[in-house]
Amino acid sequence: MYNIAFPQMGDYCVPAYFLLSNILDANIIKAPKITNKTIELGFKYSPDFVCTPFKYTLGTMIECLDMGADTLIQYGGGCRYGYYAELQEKILNDLGYDFKMINLVIEGRINLRRINKLLKQIDSKYSKIKSIYYSFITLKMIKYMDEIDDFIRENVGFEVVKGSFEKLKEEMLIKFGNVKSYHELKIIYRYFLNKFKCVKVYKPDDRLRIGIIGELYTLMEPFSNYYIEKELAKNNIEVKRFTNVDYLFLRKSKRMKKYLKNNPYVKYSMGADASDNVANCQYLCENGYDGIIHIKSSFCTPEIGVMQVISKIAESYDVPIMFFSFDGQSSETGFKTRLEAFYDMLEMRKNK
């Protein structure tokens, strides 16, 4: 029996674990939450100016291998993220680890037939039909999670009893992880949606609304962005974020096609989510958001290129924008000071 592990990102380890444990007869290892130790390990063994997600996921892989994993799954694409797996495998081999690396995305593409073949090697009884069924449930689960997250982001800053949203979400994720059928998932989702809507909130009309855009990994893994959303919520700010797995998988390409037609700012896709962020920035500006925060990991090339385009748009709409670049080792105090000054500034503008 194989021991499978995969690097995690935000809460998406729940659906990923659900999928793998249902379609494969193997021991799925839950990656430990990212901690300072993970980052330390990742930084120690990564090339210097590779982007930060490489370092984070490498750190997690080492931790998983130390926990007994013998098969690792890596995924990603769009930019150099798609190429992580091969180099990570080499680095880990050089460190003396013996394991099998499964790269779901090869040469920037997902080839289902190839993935099927790989999974068959792990579990001879692996069935395609079963995996299609569970993949469907998983996608739905991700969609539900993302919807609830959007709702939380809008409201958590205004909860009357502190921590009520977080507690409820934890409960929901545990329930989600144990569902047996699509029907059950739907019932649980409706139940929790209702509960979330019943959480007491006090939302003043003159609240600040901030949109967060940027590079996907940094957006979706809260540890890598110093829990920026929580920090904003603490200061009674409504947060809007586009990027989540559901959006990237299903909605992004269609929206971008429409957006890039006759656009004054961008003509082409600029790689990864760069042009997407231009669209998001414009949306936020046109829909009355008070400020925009752009976050990314250091050395993220597509986002670096697009930053000046984004700030040009924000400037033309007179919406303040703040850029943060996270390398996992920058000072948290400096980050907090700048963030604090940002909403002070928005507040001052609003009160004038």
Binding site: T35, G334, R338, A341, K352
Partner: protein
């Protein structure tokens, strides 16, 4: 009895305090070194401020700012704890209501704040390295065997400042050593350093920012006449340096505390309060968060630095 407000700005190098009245008039001020111990520094600061304070005032608000603002805010029971960007802007606008750009270079960090119609529109802090901050200048002054206070005067003597690679401290330092070895006169090197501070600042912190006058330059380095000269030269316009420039953060903190006042009266008493901090490594998970626990009179009142919220 008239009302007054205390503002404290605790930086890594120096601690500044002011007491202002209702009309933003400074009635007492002090400037001392932090010496790595913000609690002791503030204790000293309060004593000095109290001695210099005229009779007939009662403190109606306390505001803190600077890197140790949270700690000192707790210690003094402040009613306003604000970051230094906001505090500097508020303080400066009280004296220069039409200010458009604030340049600030302090001991460890530097910032730029853009203001329009009394509102901050943009700002930036140095994030990458300490090149061109006060600490860099003092270490270089030491290397050249000159008191940092005389640095500016020396720079003014030079007619041909040498060019010094300004992108980062390491490069700048090695370049400096090289130029000194080759035999350039001291004042040209010093002038070059002052100029490199200006250029480095504008390229780093001031990058992409539209700098419009009136410009106010403050922070510890604003006492350096050499740096002021090159700011004027490079920007091609006048740069205002306030005598109270180093106090602007503290003044801003005091003003913010007035805006936030509750009507309560504060006593400037630090002697009888025992205030301690203890470091503590959690070890509950692999994060090994370094926690700082704060005790007032032996009682734990707060702990910081926890990533998971356990403390």
């Amino acid at each position: 009895m008239r009302d007054c407000y205390l503002g404290v700005d605790i930086g890594s190098i120096s601690t500044k305090g002011v007491i202002i009245d209702d009309r933003n008039k400074i009635i007492s001020s002090a400037y001392i070194w932090t010496e790595g111990n913000p609690i002791e520094a503030v204790r000293k600061l309060i004593n000095i401020l109290k001695k210099r304070m005229p009779r007939g005032y009662k403190v109606k608000g306390i505001g803190t700012t600077g890197s140790a603002r949270k700690l000192i805010g707790l210690m003094l029971g402040a009613n306003s704890v604000k970051n230094e960007i906001t505090a500097h802007a508020v303080g400066t606008m009280a004296f220069h209501p039409d200010v458009r750009t604030i340049l600030e270079i302090g001991g460890q960090d530097s910032k730029i704040i853009l203001i329009k119609n009394g509102i901050i529109t943009n700002y930036a802090m140095n994030t990458l390295c300490a090149a061109g901050t006060g600490a860099f200048l003092s270490s270089q002054a030491k290397r050249l065997g000159i008191d940092v206070e005389d640095f500016g005067e020396f720079a003014l003597k030079s007619k041909n400042p040498v060019k010094i690679a300004a992108r980062c401290t390491v490069f700048a330092e090695s370049d400096l050593v090289h130029k000194a070895q080759v035999g350039y006169p001291k004042e040209d090197i010093i002038a070059g350093l002052c100029k490199s501070v200006v250029i480095n600042y504008l390229n780093n912190v001031g990058k992409g920012k539209k700098i419009e006058s009136p410009i106010v330059f403050q922070g510890g380095v604003s006492k350096n006449v050499g740096v002021i000269k090159y700011f004027k030269e490079v920007l091609g316009c006048d740069v205002i340096v306030d005598d109270n420039g180093h106090l602007m953060g503290a003044i801003g903190a005091a003003i913010l505390s007035r805006k936030n006042k509750t009507g309560e009266e504060y006593e400037l008493q630090t002697k009888n309060i025992k205030f301690e901090t203890k470091g503590f490594e959690c070890g509950g998970c692999a994060n090994n968060c370094e926690l700082l626990r704060i005790y007032k009179n032996g009682k734990l009142i707060d702990s910081w630095g926890s990533k998971c919220g356990k403390y």
